[in-house]
Subunit: 485 residues, 2 copies
């Protein structure tokens, strides 16, 4: 395919994407396929000779779309939102066209510099303390990671190295392996599974800190756990606070936890993967109070800020903590400017070496929506979740299971887990909407997350009426059945 | 921006990208900017109100392009190639449009299933042993990672868990920390820095295995190192063999190394990040002989197989080794089909949780080039590197520093490192072509990598004449200067 054909096919693809997104509400949100559906539909091997674009293009509707879960459907209420917007799509096209691999400043200066500056923009939008910004000569700064998992892992690894060095200087008799064996990381029992995974990768212990009745970790609980562990000879070194937990969007108490971490030489990382986008609205910014105690902070514009995946924004107060954890400099990656202090080599800030020009997406979105446009987007989602909450509260068969703060509503039928599992099963089998469940303590709960950029009040009402009807149908037959179980 | 405007702007962007790539040879391959160039060019903060597309679009040429290193210029000979092709760009647009986050089968079945099948295609193209393929009920299979660094890290972590479990069952008196403290990973002294980094992340020791005069690791050297370390009470657990090292594209001797690793219960991972693409040509496939001894294998279609970054293909013989290393199953990520055996949840195969629909790129490229089209691409690059090699060899001032096997030529002026550093400096200051140096043992060497999809014989000749002229100019003034140094 030459440039001339790309011009033609690229424009067809633009129209296809526009059509797809404009009419996505006409597609069934969750596919009908069974596992293994795709293999029989395509050949066993790659073709020997080139196929033409038409044949490949036809297969999108024939082979791919029947197996797609439509994350941008207004009937999608599962997980958390995956961001998507037209400005981000345009920027991502440009990113592909430029096709640089920006692991160092020299590998493409624009790629690095735009990222640093645009993360300062974003940091200012959520009113991050100055220390987290790069500015012209700051010690902190931002970086785009692929995912919150990577941000958590990078901060845990930086904390690990920092702590090992500190303990070794205090107690030179301990080997690195002995210190590693005593390190403990902490996170809420409501924290995302990626925090436990980061600790497993880093080869250190991790402990759950019990959350309270609001699914929140408070200072006194953390303090108690730390005292016990220190008494047992362990070395607490890392605490991951969560703002907006995955199960129910609860918020750990930063203002209590932060000073404890600072006093105990514990790295505090804040994972606000979903909730972070809301902090651009002044009325939600108080949820971030206490960030001043943190060493690192992360949220995902690719969740709720209209920047397509992947774009996970992370800031640190001391960039040297990240880069110092691993810095390796083979000659083929060295370049003339690297000792100038002005230069950021982002490969030291992340797990992979290579990186795409992802800041273009963020830059396009921030400019073409403006702060006000993005605030409107957040506010609309929060309004819709409260609208759904009210619908639930008006039906006395149902209960709300956690305070609705942003765009997630956890609810269930009053009654047994089995009853709610049956309701969930009937929702998923009907495939008119898509959501996922979770457990809050021992309760099986349905999670209703406002996701799509184009979701409106009518879709919320439809979803509620649909689930309410399924509940009615279920309850008609439930009580006799329940006796048998 | 609504869908109607996206149709218009998307088409403009397609034309912009086509123009950029068609006329990329007219741009200076390496930018003139100094560190910090970008910040003064854009505002301090994100705009409050939306800007229009024209204003953003204008800034691409004004602010971004002056700071771009043009990786797809036919005058770019640095690092290794970054793949780019029109079919891959089209597929990536579609990937953005669908915008699913395929961490589990249910999150978008097509995203998972296409990946499994297309990696079987690719595995067959390089004639990987059957055990690495997923097939309908295989124990192995392929996955797309973001980078070779992640593939190396995943395999090291899987090996670490497997070894800890084995040693614990043999010697229950050892704690996990004690075992961790004795684990050692190995790689060639020519291996990529990401291998050392993986070991640092995993909290285990790593040792360089000395390469021979061809920059190759042989069995006898590895054996000797292993004997010494075992005698010292260490536990060798992981060896990363390199096919196509970054400094000079040398190849470790798999047929000698593999049986040793198998016998010693050492996980053998093969990093063929750059060279792997060449194995689709029968005449280069012998370089992969011995892969049958490996536990995992990786190469980057995003380097040399015309699939835009990121697309790093990794295969394992036992998928349970990868998934068993971390498997964590919170309810919100569980789904109906996950115990069926047919289902692959790729989140267990990788570091991040989220993932893009990257297999679309690979599928489009394999179909629209066909195996023969991709073979032509590889062969053309290898021919061009030999053409450059011949030019160098005809000039007795220069020497070739390592055998030219694929698309990389390491060369230098006969003489001191200082002389070659001066030559490198003059090449980089002229900015007519772009390349990077490396050290081979104590020798400072210039790396000339055939990179661009559109590079032709004329560009190679131009590059050679240019460097040859710079060498002439340099040598005229060199000898007197050298006395003074």
């Amino acid at each position: 395919m030459d440039a001339a054909e790309f011009r033609k096919r690229g424009k067809e693809m633009v129209d296809y994407i526009a059509d797809y997104l404009e009419k996505i509400d006409k597609r069934q949100v969750f596919p009908d396929v069974e596992p293994g559906y795709l293999r029989p539909l395509i050949p066993d091997c790659a073709p020997q000779d080139p196929e033409n674009f038409e044949d490949v293009f036809k297969d999108i509707e024939k082979i791919i779309m029947p197996g797609v879960t439509h994350w941008h459907s207004p009937y999608f209420f599962a997980y958390f939102p995956a961001a998507s917007s037209f400005p981000a799509l345009l920027a991502d096209m440009l990113c592909g066209g430029i096709g640089c691999v920006g692991f160092s400043w020299a590998a493409s200066p624009a790629c690095t510099e735009l990222e640093t500056v645009v993360l300062d923009w974003l940091g200012k939008m959520i009113n991050l303390p100055e220390e987290f910004l790069a500015g012209k000569d700051g010690r902190g700064g931002g970086v785009i990671q692929g995912s919150a998992s990577e941000a958590t892992l990078m901060s845990l690894l930086a904390a690990r190295t920092k702590t090992i060095r500190r303990v070794q200087s205090e107690k030179p008799e301990l080997t690195e392996a002995e210190i590693m064996g005593r390190l403990v990381a902490y996170a809420s029992d409501q924290a995302h599974s990626s925090v436990e995974r980061a600790a497993l990768i880093g080869g250190v212990k991790i402990k759950n800190v019990p959350s309270d009745e609001k699914f929140t970790v408070c200072g006194s609980t953390l303090k108690k756990v730390l005292e016990e562990d220190k008494a047992a000879g362990l070395i607490p070194f890392f605490f991951c606070a969560t703002l907006g937990t995955t199960p129910c969007c609860s918020f750990d108490k930063l203002l209590e936890l932060g000073p404890i971490c600072n006093k105990e030489n514990i790295w505090m990382h804040i994972d606000a993967a979903y909730a972070g986008s809301a902090f651009i609205c002044p009325e939600f910014r108080h949820l971030l109070n206490g960030v001043e105690f943190a060493d690192s902070f992360n949220f995902n514009p690719h969740k709720w800020l209209l920047v397509n995946f992947d774009c996970s924004a992370m800031w640190v107060k001391k960039r040297s903590d990240l880069t110092g954890a691993f810095k390796l400099e083979p000659l083929y990656l060295q370049h003339h400017h690297q000792e100038s202090g002005l230069v950021t080599d982002y490969r030291h800030w992340q797990i992979p070496l290579g990186r795409r020009f992802r800041s273009l997406k963020l830059w396009f979105v921030l400019r073409m929506y403006g702060v006000t446009g993005l605030q409107e987007h957040i506010r609309k989602h929060v309004e819709l979740s409260h609208q759904f909450e009210h619908l639930v509260l008006q039906d006395e068969r149902f209960e709300i299971c956690a305070e609705v703060i942003l765009g997630l509503v956890c609810f269930r039928l009053k009654g047994s887990n089995e009853l709610n599992k049956a309701l969930f099963k009937s929702i998923n089998e009907a495939k008119k909407i898509h959501l996922v469940p979770c457990y809050l303590r021992e309760k099986f709960v349905l999670r209703f997350a406002i996701c799509s950029r184009t979701v409106e009040s009518t879709h919320i009402k439809f979803a509620w009426q649909h689930m309410s009807q399924l509940a009615t149908d279920l309850l008609k037959t439930w009580e006799p059945n329940q006796q048998q179980q």
